[in-house]
Every structure is written in C-alpha cells, then in structure tokens.
Symmetry: C2
Subunit: 126 residues, 2 copies
C-alpha cells in the first residue's frame, strides 16, 4: 500500500491523525493510529484508533455508537501525520460535544469558556 | 496561567497542536509546542513551535515570512492537545501549498492526488 510507504511512524509505531468534520472542516479530535488501525480504517471506512491508555485497537465510537465514516484521507508533506475528514455520527467527544476542542482559552483574561452546545449527556451514553 | 495547569505535556515536554485556518477551519499542519513555545505564542500572538529536528524554539515562518497570527485557542477535553485557529500569511506549508495536507489518498486506487493549487515555488522563498 503506497500510503504505508510514505508514512513515518513514530518510535511507538503510531501516526498522529487529525480527525475533522467533512461538513465544515472543523477539527474534532487528535488520535493515534498504528499500522493495523490504518488498515482497518481504510478497509471498513470507519475510524479505528490505537487507544494508548488501553494498548489496543478500537473502533472509534464502539461504546457510544458515535462512529466516524471516512470521507477523505490526506497525508502531510513529510509523512508524519494524517488528516481524515469524516461524517461524524451524533458527536465526536465523549464529554458530549461535537468536537473535543469545546473549551476556548482567552489568554488576556486567563480564562476558559465553553464554545459549543453540548449535544448529549455522557451519563446517558456511557 | 490556567492553560498550563490543564495541559498534560508528553514525555518530551511537548503538546501536539493542530494549526487550522480561521477562514475555513481547514487544518494546515500539526506542530509541537513546549511550555516556552506556548508562552511565546500567546504573548506575541504569532505561532512559535518547538522544532524537534533542530531542538529549538522558532517562530513559524521565520525564514519564509509566512507567519501565523493566532485568532482562537482551544484545548481538548483531556488536555492532551491544542487547536489554534490562525490567520495564515501566504501559505502554511514549506512545499508551497496552503495546507501541509495537500496530498489526498485514494485507498481504492492506492494512489495520491495533489488536491490543492500550489501558491508559491519553494525555490523562490527558501
């Protein structure tokens, strides 16, 4: 597979991968894929990640059902990272927001604000 | 600074940071910022990164002049990564494209296509 030839996996065998919403390009999360996760993602059309905290391959959304259907795959100029544009089911973040980047930081005030509406209550899903 | 309290730096002291275009949300590149790079980025409003290959702090665009002005700062749900929305001067990629993700991969064909127009010729800039 030509993609694999271009990729430079890090010393843990992983490629950092930006997952963004195909509808508006907005980044949803940053994941880590190993070779197997990339193969499974491409073969099924659904994002699979290597969950570092659990040391295993998993379908993104396997518990919540909030899967990510892959629409576009991009490689960066140096083969160090991937960008996947996806159709996100329900919401991308386990905290109930579309994007994991739902906290905006205001450096002048040294304060955070929640910049998105919450889509679901995690207590109802997990 | 409250942002620093929330961040979980990796074992190299770095935070992976998605840089995206404030105009259309499109991811431009993935960078790595250490504590000093974050402080300099917030203080100046211009993206500074820790260039791993050179082991030093640098202003993004210091050679090319293609700086990135920070418009929005977001933290992910777990404090593992940042998202910066920026106003990109000229183009974000040293290869001459707006985004480093200018190569689209078609898994069915096992082929790459260039999915953006080239904005500048690197030979004229570097």
């Amino acid at each position: 597979m030509k993609l694999m030839d271009e990729l430079k996996f890090n010393d843990q065998g992983l490629i950092p991968t930006i997952i963004a919403n195909v509808e508006d390009n907005r980044p949803l999360t940053l994941c880590y894929l190993n070779k197997e996760a990339i193969e499974k993602t491409l073969a099924t059309g659904k994002v699979h990640v290597f969950r570092r905290s659990q040391g295993r391959l998993m379908l993104k959304g396997e518990t919540s059902g909030h899967i990510q259907k892959v629409k576009k795959v991009y490689l960066d100029c140096e083969g160090n990272s991937l960008l996947l544009l996806v159709e996100q089911q329900v919401a991308g973040c386990h905290a109930g927001y579309m994007s994991c980047y739902f906290r905006e930081y205001d450096a002048a005030q040294d304060a955070f604000t929640i910049s998105e509406e919450r889509i679901f209550n995690p207590d109802d899903v997990y």
